[in-house]
Each structure stands twice: as structure tokens, then as C-alpha cells.
Amino acid sequence: MILQIKNTARDLKIRLPDLITRPVGRRMYERTRKSMAHVGDGEVVLVDFSGVQVIDSSFIDEFLLRLIEDSREESPVFFVKLANITPIIETNIDSVFSSYQAYNERRIAVVTESLTAMNSYCIGIISGHERDVLDYLRINRVAALGDIAAFVGMREEDALPLVEGLYGLRVVRREHSGPPGRYEAV
């Protein structure tokens, strides 16, 4: 599913290129969730920010954080991926995620379509091994746990919590159709 943020903003008569303040974030979130009523289990929701220049921390808190928290619910599980984000959007998301993690003692991350300024396809604090897994899956699309474990130099039983942790963050998918123990990129 592709969510064009500029279309949602236009429907709500919110002028772009900047999406700022909590009330604007709340309105955008509510409209977005309505449009996601039929999102399928395991589906990737591509949030496309083309046409948006700045989103501030209040907007991120009310819109993106809530969307990511929803994605972690059991039903339906979905995966958020960001597209066409500007450097300031990336900076602001990164800052909010750092604060969220510091105060909630709960990690948060989101996958991006393009390479970020931090030379990664993910915003959020993740370990070097986790980043390796994301990069491996991004290139190979789908991989068995054994292959991932071999790539990062771990035993399968040690790699399992690592990959499942990434699944819990909703930055890696479990393959639905294939045999168990296979993962795919978001």
C-alpha cells in the first residue's frame, strides 16, 4: 500500500510543504488510519513524503510514532517504509526516535527506501549486526535464518533473537508463503 502524504494533506486542506504541530499530526494520523482500514496482515505501507519539506517533532510524535506503534500490534501486523524524505525530515525523525528510546526504554526504528545521511536504509538506533542483516536482506530480498546466521558469523540459535528483534521492530518481515524460518526485506 502506498500512502501519498501530499494527497492526505490536500484532502484535509493542510497546506504543504511543511507538516507541523501536534493537531496537524493528529488529523493526518486519523485520516491515514481510516485509509488503512483494509491493510492486509504482513503488508508494507510505503509512506511517501514527496512534496513535503519539513515535518517537526510534534508531527512525528502524533503521526509517525503512532503509526509505527500500531504496526507492532498483533493484528494486523504491517510494516512502515518511508520514501522521499528530506535531510531535515530524517534529522527530526532520528532525534524523536532517540528521545523515545531514552524515555520508553523501548527501541524504535523505521525502514527507508533511500540511503540516509547515516549511510543506512533505516532510521533508529540499531546495532552493527542488525544493520548487516538489513543490508543482507535488502540485497537478497529473502533469506533463510541459516544464511543470515552465516553472513553475520553467528550460530542459528544466536541469530534467531537478533532477526526476531528486527521483526519486532517491524524492519524485517517473516516470509508468509515460504517454509518457516525465512525472512524478507521490508
Binding site: P17, I20, D56
Partner: protein, 301 residues
């Protein structure tokens, strides 16, 4: 030494201390005198220059006086250039002061003459819906004029950084101050230095009071709370917040400076003056009381 009495009204001669946030403290410290000696008019004849922070703080001083006494202070003997500037920035039309002299319309600055280098004084209402509209308006004007306001600093990202800063700081007014406030911005030259200054202020409950419900700050000084808000994602309304912390990170990146004043405390962070090992954070808790929170964010070039 500044008080003159002409028989019917008491006039206070303001010293020429409107050049920066620090010198304006001399005028804020006259606030008590204004109420104690029932000053009715401020004589601006000694003022040779007024920068945006001093202008907005003077406007708040007048508004506070009006709220406290029900009477508007008069402004007298305003030098022509100051009068032109105050009129151009919409200071006079805010209605906090009565002017003893009217300026001939021919002498007023035309909007087109330096419109692009300023954002006029804009009300930031205390209510959420109106405030959001006002903030969006300020940002829209800023985007249109950014090429001129940030002429000496312009790169691809700086405009977006400033949009974030304006948004974060203005939201604090309706989120935390329980009052309305003002925002203004200007680029100007001081000697050989170019300055761009964004000023946002209110006369609400202030930073300490807004954290009143948090026990962990009970024994922290006012300036200590300001410092904490700048360096840690704390919030008075939620478990954690981002605003000032994010602003601080951006201004550090841009090597600018931040000055925050609230009640009798202040914190100044001078990234533009930072040298290796030297302190760039200056805290004070001995200022004259002035209600609300006043913020000045500057870049120098």
C-alpha cells in the same frame, strides 16, 4: 536618574540599551520603577538603535503594564529612525502604547523597501487552533523571504532548519505558557557583522512554573531548568518532549546562539563563540523579574 516629572505625568527616560539581549536587561530592571513611581510615559529620545529582541521585550513591557494597571504607557520623543522602524515592524499597531507624536505618512517606510529582510511582529495566540494558523502564516512568510533573510547563510538545508526552529519554539507558547505571545525575525548589520535574529516571547507562566508539577525540578535553579530543557528531551506536559532540545541541536549545527530568559533566570548558549575547551553556556539567576519566556536565536556571519 531617569525619572523626569513634568507636573502632570512622570516620564522615564529610557537609556540607549536596546542593542542586544544583555543590554536590554537595564531596561527590564526599570520595570519595578515604572510601577512604583507611576510612570506614565517612556522617553525614547536616547535610543539610537533597537534590535528585534529589545523591540519585542519592550512591547511585552507595555502589554504587561496595560494588563496590570489598565492604562497604556505613552511613548514620547521617539527618534525618527526608531519610529520608522517600530511602525514598519507593526510594533505601534499592536496597541500596547500610546504615541505622543504621530509620524507623517510620507516618512513611513514603504513595505517594499526592506520587506524581504524581516518578518513583522506576529501574534501567536494562546489557543491551539488560532495559534497553529498563526505559526503556519509565519512559516509561509519566512519561506517567501528566506532568500533575503538568510542571504549571508543560505544553503539548501538552512531554510528547513529554521522552519523547524520557528515551529518548535512558537508551539511552546500555546502548549506551555498559558498566554499569547509574539514572534518576529530580522536580518541586520551590526558593525561588520551580519546578524539574523529570530525572537519569540510571551508573558505567561514561565519555564519553572510550567514544570511546577515535576518534583525532580523542585530544587533546580531556574537557569538549571532552562539548561535541562535545552539539553534533555524533557516536557512539562508529557513524559518527554523534543522542542527546545531539537532547537538546541539545530543551532549547534548552524554555529549560532540561543538566549532564553524566563522570570529571573537566563541561559545563553553561544556556539558561535565556542572554542575547544572553553565554556559556551552561561547561566544566570539574578535577573530582574520579568514574566513569561523570552527567546532569541541568532546566527552571525
Amino acid at each position: 536618574m531617569y525619572v523626569l516629572t513634568d507636573g502632570t505625568t512622570t516620564t522615564l527616560l529610557l537609556p540607549d540599551r536596546c542593542r542586544d539581549v544583555y543590554s536590554f536587561e537595564d531596561i527590564i530592571s526599570l520595570g519595578e520603577k515604572i510601577s512604583r513611581e507611576r510612570v506614565a510615559a517612556l522617553d525614547l529620545s536616547a535610543i539610537s538603535f533597537i534590535e528585534p529582541y529589545s523591540m519585542l521585550a519592550l512591547l511585552l513591557l507595555g502589554r504587561n503594564h496595560l494588563r496590570d494597571t489598565g492604562e497604556r504607557l505613552r511613548l514620547a520623543n521617539i527618534p525618527l529612525n526608531i519610529h520608522q522602524y517600530l511602525a514598519r515592524m507593526d510594533f505601534i499597531s499592536k496597541g500596547s502604547f500610546v504615541l505622543t507624536d504621530r509620524l507623517d505618512a510620507k516618512l513611513l517606510y514603504r513595505r517594499s523597501s526592506f520587506s524581504n529582510r524581516v518578518i513583522e511582529i506576529t501574534d501567536i495566540p494562546g489557543r491551539e487552533r488560532e495559534s497553529i494558523r498563526a505559526i503556519a502564516g509565519v512559516i509561509s512568510i519566512f519561506r517567501k523571504r528566506a532568500r533575503h533573510i538568510l542571504k549571508y547563510w543560505l544553503n539548501e538545508s538552512i531554510v528547513d532548519y529554521f522552519v523547524t526552529v520557528i515551529s518548535e519554539v512558537c508551539q511552546n507558547i500555546f502548549e506551555h505558557s498559558l498566554d499569547s505571545g509574539y514572534c518576529a525575525m530580522q536580518t541586520y548589520s551590526a558593525g561588520s557583522e551580519h546578524v539574523v535574529r529570530l525572537v519569540i516571547m510571551d508573558s505567561g507562566i514561565g519555564i519553572r512554573e510550567s514544570f511546577g508539577g515535576r518534583n525532580e525540578f523542585a530544587s533546580v535553579s531556574g537557569s538549571g531548568i532552562i539548561e535541562k530543557a535545552l539539553t534533555t528531551p524533557i516536557s512539562s506536559k508529557r513524559r518527554f518532549g523534543y522542542g527546545l532540545c531539537q532547537v538546541n541541536a539545530i543551532i549547534e549545527k548552524l554555529k549560532g546562539s540561543i538566549y532564553i530568559r524566563s522570570a529571573d533566570s537566563s541561559a545563553a548558549v553561544l556556539y558561535n563563540r565556542r572554542q575547544s575547551g572553553a565554556s559556551h553556556l552561561f547561566l544566570r539567576d539574578d535577573l530582574a523579574p520579568f514574566p513569561g519566556t523570552q527567546i532569541s536565536i541568532s546566527l552571525f556571519g
